[in-house]
């Protein structure tokens, strides 16, 4: 058997509003980091431009690689980011902008960003809570081991959810 996957309705490459949003968010995050502003602009601009261009040229077939480029760019910029509320906010907004950009994929029915609004909204809400906890609450002396343990627990929880989807969804499926 040979698999024939039907093409999506919009096959032409497009770089729309979500791409501008991604580029702006990454550039803003770059400007809040400790890099010299020219260096930050070069790193952020090169990463965002490469990702957008790759996705447009491949008509959405290399979207995962493009997403990896954006994540790598954010990681490099975060290495030099100061421990400030503005840099944290800009970084989180950049990730949310990337999710919106991924939803607005070429080769899919237009309006993906609008349909992804509930998922992006949940992520944004959790990010907001984390950001408020990190910078706006009064600082306390919490042992590093407790923080590390909590973070490891979060990683294990997410890993187990990824490995066993039935923990989230136990609905009978097709053919059941």
């Amino acid at each position: 058997m040979a698999a024939d996957v039907l093409p999506r309705p919009i096959a032409e490459p497009r770089a729309g509003l979500s791409s501008a949003l991604l580029a702006g968010a990454v550039l803003l995050f770059g400007l809040t980091t400790g890099f010299h502003w020219e260096v930050a602009l070069v790193i952020a601009g090169a990463g965002a431009a490469a990702a957008i261009a790759l996705r447009v040229i491949s008509a959405g077939r290399r979207s995962d690689t493009a997403a990896a480029i954006v994540i790598l760019t954010l990681g490099v910029l975060a290495l030099a980011a100061p421990d400030s509320w503005l840099a944290g906010l800009a970084g989180g907004v950049a990730v949310l902008a990337m999710l919106t950009w991924l939803a607005d994929e070429p080769g899919r029915v237009a309006g993906g960003a609008r349909r992804a609004l509930p998922a992006v909204g949940v992520v944004g809400l959790l990010f907001g809570v984390t950001w408020v906890c990190a910078f706006l609450l009064p600082p306390t002396r919490v042992p590093t081991g407790v923080i590390g343990g909590l973070l490891v627990a979060v990683i294990l929880l997410v890993t187990s959810l990824l490995a066993r989807p039935e923990l989230i969804e136990s609905e009978p499926s097709l053919g059941a």
């Binding site: 058997m1 698999a3 995962d64 400030s84 989180g92 949940v122 990010f127 590093t144 609905e171 009978p172």
Partner: protein, 430 residues
């Protein structure tokens, strides 16, 4: 044994979901090592996004109702259809994948039209040879807009049967099968009527004697009909389809099965029109059989069984086929074996069938007719490989001819060679 069916998961993560979660985990580790709060704030949305996408996906599971049909003439196979989603908005994120049978090639790229609440598709395939193929219903999954989660869509979806000019034995004429019906006098004639000879009414041939014509029935039906008598009936026929995997490989085996299904469909129609008692069996790992009978209902049964015949994953032993066949059919019934003779045990099957008392006629399609012209090989090497395949097949045919009549089926568009063998018993081996 075939593996037991497992329930598919309600949803599964896509590669992009693993990419985001893995990146988030890496950021978190670096954040702990470097005590960097910004890195944590980057990690949180990356880790949460796949889980959030799964949690906000539509509930209950999206349903997709499929309506499709096969159109087209001659070798063109055009499949048009529509997928309707429930809720209607879910169709925007449907991904539809078809399994194209190996016997069909793509003629043109598929076209698709996205409408509110429905997706219309138009597949252009081509069948270069006669075939009967069952196209599995497409796999329809819902992708979340970010591309992190897949959910299979539920709903009724029936398979589609594609028949492209199935072969027919229009000129079958008078066929003398191996005699399995008893002659008058050997059985109690009261069970078949006062004369003990009348069998039924059939269509008259152009040179039918006037005494044989059933004038009343002809007048009622408006076409020439003739009486048929028990003494003219010779025997019954079993069509045996060998669906075991062979050394030819999966693709050629599937092509052989497509052609064999077409041939079996045509032979079934021809013999049932003659009111011959007909049976069907397919043998892969085990034997699936339809016992001898005649009539339209039997035709429906056999066609259903022909469509259900699939290439088996495991090769059953030949002796099992012969033993099982004996449970369903009496010895002496003419057995038409449709086999590619590609497996090492194909000849053994003929031997075992003979030992169990079944006279066998093997219908063997040419391997060369199943292989499309290869452009990757230079012409000289292509000719050499074709020659070697021809010699290998001829060796197998010669080995099989010691035990059965073999029809060397080169022209796949006609069953004339088979009809020739069936009409002339002297061409068959005892």
């Amino acid at each position: 044994m075939s593996p037991p069916a497992t329930r598919p998961p309600a949803f599964h993560w896509r590669g992009r979901g693993y990419l985001l979660a893995g990146s988030g985990a890496a950021f978190l580790v670096v954040a702990i090592a470097a005590r960097d709060a910004v890195m944590v704030l980057l990690a949180v949305p990356l880790l949460v996004a796949p889980v959030a996408a799964a949690l906000v996906s539509p509930r209950p599971m999206p349903r997709a109702a499929l309506a499709w049909q096969s159109v087209g003439v001659a070798g063109e196979v055009r499949i048009v259809g529509e997928v309707r989603g429930d809720p209607p908005g879910s169709t925007d994120d449907f991904a539809i994948a078809f399994d194209r049978p190996a016997d069909l090639s793509e003629d043109r790229p598929p076209t698709i039209e996205w409408r509110p609440g429905a997706v219309r598709f138009d597949l252009r395939w081509r069948s270069p040879r006669p075939t009967v193929q069952v196209v599995s219903p497409p796999t329809i999954v819902w992708n979340d807009p970010i591309g992190l989660v897949d959910r299979p869509a539920t709903g009724p979806r029936a398979a589609l049967v594609v028949e492209r000019y199935p072969l027919d034995l229009h000129r079958l004429g008078a066929v003398r099968l191996e005699r399995t019906r008893q002659l008058p006098g050997k059985s109690r004639t009261r069970v078949i009527g006062t004369t003990g000879e009348f069998f039924g009414i059939r269509g008259a041939s152009w040179n039918e004697p006037p005494r044989r014509i059933n004038w009343r029935a002809s007048a009622r039906s408006g076409k020439w009909l003739a009486n048929e008598f028990e003494v003219e009936r010779t025997g019954d026929l079993v069509i045996l389809l060998d669906t075991r995997p062979t050394v030819l490989g999966e693709v050629l085996d599937e092509r052989f099965l497509g052609v064999a299904r077409a041939a079996a469909t045509g032979i079934t129609g021809a013999f049932l029109r003659q009111k011959t008692r007909l049976g069907f069996a397919s043998f892969g790992e085990f034997l699936e059989a339809i016992p001898l009978s005649t009539g339209r209902t039997q035709g429906v049964r056999i066609r259903r069984a022909i469509r259900a015949a699939r290439r088996s994953a495991v090769e059953g032993p030949s002796e099992r086929c012969a033993v099982s066949l004996r449970r369903y059919f009496p010895a002496g019934v003419t057995t038409l074996l449709l086999s590619s003779l590609g497996g090492d045990s194909a000849c053994d099957l003929v031997v075992h069938l003979r030992h169990r008392g079944f006279p066998v006629i093997v219908l063997n399609p040419s391997w060369r007719s199943l292989v499309p012209p290869r452009t990757t090989l230079p012409p000289r090497e292509d000719a050499l490989s074709a020659r070697l395949a021809h010699l290998e097949r001829q060796m197998r045919l010669v080995a099989t001819r010691a035990y059965a009549s073999v029809v060397d089926w080169e022209d796949l568009s006609s069953l004339g060679d088979l009809a020739h063998v069936l009409q002339r018993p002297d061409r068959r081996r005892a």
